[in-house]
């Protein structure tokens, strides 16, 4: 989202907040509300108060999100149309996933995820080509592919949600319950955060770096989900996970993780550029890197955003723990690592805000922060045991 000088001028003119919204904005909001009403009418019998609250809050947040960042409107429409088409094709027969052409090759959950994976990897390559040879076309293609991958990723998750109910009503649950599923979530959230800043700063040259971390996630996803472990199979939920809290706690966490990952990759770009500039190199590639100041600023914004969501997620987690495990804080390894991640970024923010640190040291810190975050994300499941022991490697 970029504000031109023209739009900005309005800030000091008498104006009505609502007038900034176009007809399309209103139509889109109306559509969302109608869909929500339909969902409510169909499924309210299965929802408790909290779930109804989550449904409504989700609708309102998506509306606000789309108003603040316009591309979200088109994005959610694509996702909705494709997902609904897949759900329509499935009907009540999960087996169609193996026989129906569209489902089998395009939009069953697994196929959609495969498309997502392929597109992210291609986009990474295209972003780097764009950076190295300075091809605007390549960069724009990369951006389009990232958008498409992100559409397919969310479609994959939504269709998987439906598929879980087709297996059996009792098995149905939101697909954020194991490492395979949250890796998809991580990829699309990181991509969306990146795309937001890409649109805002109108530069494509950070893309390769950010997509690198997404591609790594995709590599892990393919190895973990489709390797010998078969983690891509839908599993029913253990009793502790059967709660509405999962719907808010997990996504909030992944906005945090995604933002921290984004910040770390910008840190990498910053360090490369800064090092090259200090060495006096003045090549075309280095000049195509975004300004150090922009990198620094977006890195800060990403960490601030990540910190806000991560704080919220940790609090929600504590509240859930108070309901499921009998205590809001048990020093379970996952909890403890969340605290470590939180302390790490709290220190980062303090150094920036009160000590006025900028640039290199903080870029290094955010790169190291990614490793701390990664450990909290997968290392804990891999090496430590605890109450969060679902989704073990």
């Amino acid at each position: 989202m970029s504000m031109t000088g023209q739009e900005m001028e309005n800030i000091f003119e008498k104006q009505n907040l609502w007038r900034k919204l176009s007809l399309f904005d209103w139509g889109w909001a109306g559509l969302l509300m109608m869909s929500t009403a339909y969902a409510w009418q169909q499924y309210s019998v299965f929802m408790d108060t909290y779930e109804a609250g989550i449904l409504i809050a989700t609708t309102l947040s998506i509306i606000a999100w789309g108003w603040l960042w316009k591309p979200v409107r088109a994005y959610s429409l694509y996702v909705a149309v494709i997902s609904l088409f897949a759900i329509y094709l499935y009907g009540n027969d999960l087996a169609l996933g193996e026989t129906n052409f569209f489902l089998k090759f395009l939009i069953s959950s697994k196929s959609a995820i495969m498309w997502m994976s392929a597109l992210y990897v291609l986009a990474t390559v295209a972003y780097f080509i764009g950076l190295f040879i300075g091809s605007e076309f390549s960069s724009k293609t990369a951006s389009a592919m990232t958008w498409s991958a992100t559409v397919m990723g969310l479609v994959g998750l939504l269709v998987r949600w439906r598929e879980s109910y087709l297996i059996h009503f009792d098995v149905g649950h939101i697909p954020v319950s194991n490492l395979y599923e949250v890796f998809i979530l991580f990829s699309i959230i990181t991509a969306l955060l990146y795309l937001y800043y890409e649109g805002k700063s109108k530069t494509y040259n950070m893309g390769g770096f950010v997509l690198l971390v997404i591609s790594s996630a995709v590599a892990f996803l393919l190895w973990y989900g489709f390797g010998s472990r078969g983690a891509s199979e839908i599993q029913p939920l253990v009793p502790a996970l059967q709660s509405y809290w999962m719907k808010i706690h997990v996504p909030a966490n992944f906005v945090g993780y995604g933002a921290f990952a984004l910040a770390a990759m910008l840190g990498v770009a910053y360090l490369i550029k800064d090092t090259m500039v200090n060495r006096g190199s003045n090549g075309a590639i280095i000049n195509r890197f975004p300004d150090l100041e922009i990198l620094d600023d977006v890195m800060y914004k990403a960490i601030a955003l990540g910190f806000a969501f991560f704080t919220l997620a940790t609090i929600l987690g504590a509240m859930w723990a108070a309901e499921a495990w009998g205590g809001y804080w048990s020093w379970d390894p996952k909890e403890t690592w969340a605290l470590i991640v939180w302390l790490n970024y709290a220190a980062w923010l303090h150094l920036r805000l009160t000590k006025g640190w900028r640039g290199r040291p903080l870029a290094w810190w955010s790169v190291i922060g990614l490793f701390v975050t990664l450990f909290a994300f997968i290392g804990v499941n891999m090496f430590l045991s605890g109450l969060h022991s679902y989704g073990e490697l």
Binding site: G5, V238, P239, S243, T311, A318, A324, W331, K355
Partner: protein, 706 residues
């Protein structure tokens, strides 16, 4: 502190030097007001320093990491085995096995609190002032030094200009104040000043959260332990036997987290609080009775839900409440929360028959154990001719669902199959060595025949190795053990060996009594070897005694002889069952013989003095509850809300200030001259854009003047 602010502002390079000194003045004034003296001043500036805060973040982080790597609150023996006695002692004295409630960790948290509190104390007055004040005392010189600064000249009077600008500022969401000194109008405007309160909210939240969480923790118990008023019990006792020094009365403890396991149909009025390697008994002001426990499974055997029907009875008033508790749906009773935490065996009773397996005592009569009953979780001494053994029943499972290896091969094959109930137990010999076994109660089908499965292993790390005992015509173990008993009975075996030897020599046509005796001896010996160690032992024996060139020949004839006598023994067993062996041996009985011989061949690897058969069982479950009292919880949540609000204020409300100084143009003209400047504090980019927008607007109205 003042240095920090200065370095920050200097770095930002955004605010005129005069302004910094203004702020510094404010801080200085604050200090002298409070009359801080030498030592206190040093202490305050140490406690409130950023260096201390960051160090605490890092140290607490590292301590927390240690706590996740070193598993907390395990049994002390586990640690001794892992680290050896020396390091165990070192780690224990550093309280590394219970880091999060160790004195030094709590001390660190205390420092964090003190440091945060100091910051709040020192910074609050300035924050409040920054939030409320408009700062009308600013000179046009300092405005010109700001990053975003411009001047215009206007045709209209200062008053009209001021009015125009104030309207625009208010459209832009700014609050403003103006001051008129000798015709010079100063307008100070600000927006998002509430941002400054974010600091108070976040830091205040940390204090609220830490204090309330500390209040909910068990630090008070540790203090009482140090004072010698409490001592965690480390022995495995019944709750009623636990001495008073390890007990807490119902109202003695303001906060706790304890566990209780209640068998179906039982009642308890206390919980166990774990403390390091021991526990305390905490009495409750109410009794909980478990009426029913239900567990549901998915098709895959994974638990889908578990829930308990409980009745709470207040010990004082006798008031009763019935409720069902589920995972994620605790029961809140007064200040207590009761959670469904786990489930357990509540003392299921096994009706057991032990079949002797010993093959070493050929001459003594096989021992006989009367069928007995034993409760899961308990131990029993069993005397055998091989010595005394302790039988420990570890776990009873009512069902065992496993993936079906045949899934997908036929239309009706289900993905999972249920192996039925199983009992896990250990048999410990007099030296303390134990083997672990798992016996499936129901026979399972393999290629159309039924076998009883029993797994054995020496350590929990190994997989089970399974013994398949064929089930006889009545789907029982009887025939197998009859066969085994007969084979172990040397008197009977002598008779059978002689009979068989005579018969087989007769059919060969050379009845010679010496040969018959010789052959009978060989037969009996082979059968004995086979009984003790299967075909392997027989082979070993041949390898030991026969020169290599004759081995094959000898072993061929030995195996033939062995088969003959085993066949005869089998026929006698069948005869004992009442089977008409002359005319009516069924194909199943023939196949049974092959399975029997195969199993007998490996049974010596099944290192047990007896085979344990569960003939029937009475299943009883226990429900595991976690019962907590955490009076600080709501305060923690309040702190969390403050924290979230603070973060939003601090990061997402941009604090911006704009100043305008309007001076009348030279006397003869009617116009005015204005200097406009501002700063965006931490949101300079956004402010720069806003300033640009304002400039564009003013450009339309006025003319730029450098």
């Amino acid at each position: 502190m003042s240095n920090e602010i200065k370095s920050d502002k200097q770095h930002l390079g955004d605010i005129a030097s005069e302004e910094v000194s203004l702020q510094q003045q404010a801080i200085e004034r604050e200090r002298s007001n409070r009359k801080e003296h030498g030592l206190l001043k040093v202490l305050l500036s140490f406690m409130g320093s950023m260096e201390l805060a960051i160090s605490l973040f890092v140290i607490i982080g590292i301590a927390s990491i240690i706590g996740t790597i070193l598993q907390q609150n395990q049994d002390y023996n586990t640690y001794i085995i892992k680290f050896g006695p020396f390091w165990f002692e070192v780690f224990r004295s550093m309280e590394l096995f219970d880091i999060y409630s160790s004195w030094w960790f709590v001390l660190l948290l205390g420092f964090l609190l003190a440091s945060t509190a100091t910051c709040i104390y020192r910074y609050t007055p300035t924050i409040i002032r920054e939030w409320r004040q408009f700062r009308l005392n600013i000179s046009s010189k300092s405005l010109k030094l700001m990053h975003s600064s411009s001047s215009w000249s206007s045709q209209i009077s200062p008053d009209e200009t001021a009015q125009f600008i104030q309207e625009k500022l208010s459209n832009g969401g700014y609050q403003s104040r103006q001051k008129n000194e000798q015709g010079v109008i100063t307008i100070a405007a600000k927006k998002g000043a509430i941002n400054r309160l974010g600091y108070l909210f976040t830091h205040g939240a940390i204090i609220v959260i830490c204090l309330s969480a500390l209040y909910d923790g068990n630090f008070n118990l540790k203090l009482r332990e140090v004072a010698g008023q409490l001592k965690p019990e480390t022995r495995d006792l019944f709750a009623s036997q636990v001495p008073d020094i390890s007990r807490l009365k119902a109202h003695e403890n303001h906060a706790f987290r304890g566990n209780a396991s209640i068998p179906e149909g039982s009642t308890t009025g206390l919980v166990f609080l774990q403390m390091r390697n021991g526990y305390l008994v905490q009495e409750l002001p109410f009794n909980i009775s478990l009426n029913d426990f239900r567990i549901e499974h998915y098709e895959s055997g994974m638990p889908k839900s578990f829930e308990s029907d409980v009745v709470i009875e207040d010990k004082e008033t006798g008031e009763q409440i019935s409720k069902t508790i589920e995972v994620n749906h605790p029961l809140i009773y007064k200040d207590f929360a009761i959670y469904q935490a786990s489930f357990d065996d509540g003392g299921s009773v096994m009706d057991i028959q032990a079949w002797p397996l010993s093959a070493t005592e050929q001459d003594s009569k096989p021992f006989n154990i009367e069928p007995f009953k034993q409760v899961v979780g308990e131990k029993k001494l069993i005397q055998t001719p091989d010595g005394d053994y302790k039988l420990e029943l570890a776990e009873f499972k009512k069902s065992n669902v496993q993936p079906n290896p045949k899934a997908g091969t036929g239309e009706n094959e289900r993905k999972f199959k249920n192996m039925g109930p199983s009992l896990t137990f250990r048999i410990r010999d007099s030296s303390g060595q134990a083997q672990e076994f798992i016996n499936y109660l129901n026979p399972s089908a393999q290629e159309g025949r039924f076998f009883f499965l029993s797994g054995v292993r020496s350590t929990a790390a190994e997989p089970f190795r399974y013994l398949f005992i064929p089930a006889d015509d009545d789907i029982s173990l009887k025939r197998f053990f009859d066969f085994r008993a007969l084979l172990s009975d040397s008197v009977q075996m002598k008779r059978i060996a002689e009979k068989t030897a005579a018969m087989s020599l007769q059919s060969a046509g050379t009845p010679n009594s010496e040969m018959v005796t010789q052959m009978a001896v060989v037969m009996q010996r082979l059968a004995e070897l086979f009984n003790q160690g299967g075909f392997d032992l027989v082979l070993n024996d041949i390898n030991d005694k026969v020169p290599e060139d004759r081995r094959k020949e000898v072993s061929d004839s030995y195996f033939k002889v062995l088969q003959t006598i085993l066949g005869t023994v089998y026929l006698e067993v069948l005869q004992g069952e009442g089977v008409d062996i002359e005319n009516n041996i069924t194909p199943a009985q023939e196949r049974y013989y092959d399975d029997l011989v195969n199993t007998m061949g490996v049974v010596s690897n099944y290192k047990a003095p007896f085979y344990l058969q569960v003939k029937s069982f009475e299943h009883k479950e226990a429900s595991g509850f976690q019962i907590t009292k955490s009076p600080g919880k709501d305060l923690v949540y309040l702190g969390c809300v403050l924290l979230c609000i603070g973060i939003v204020l601090m990061f997402y409300v941009a604090h911006k200030r704009i100043w305008i100084i309007i001076t009348p143009a030279a006397e003869d003209e009617s116009g005015s001259h204005l200097v406009v400047a501002g700063s965006g504090d931490r949101h300079q980019k956004e402010f720069a854009m806003e300033f640009k927008a304002l400039s564009q607007l003013l450009d339309k109205q006025f003319s730029k003047s450098g």
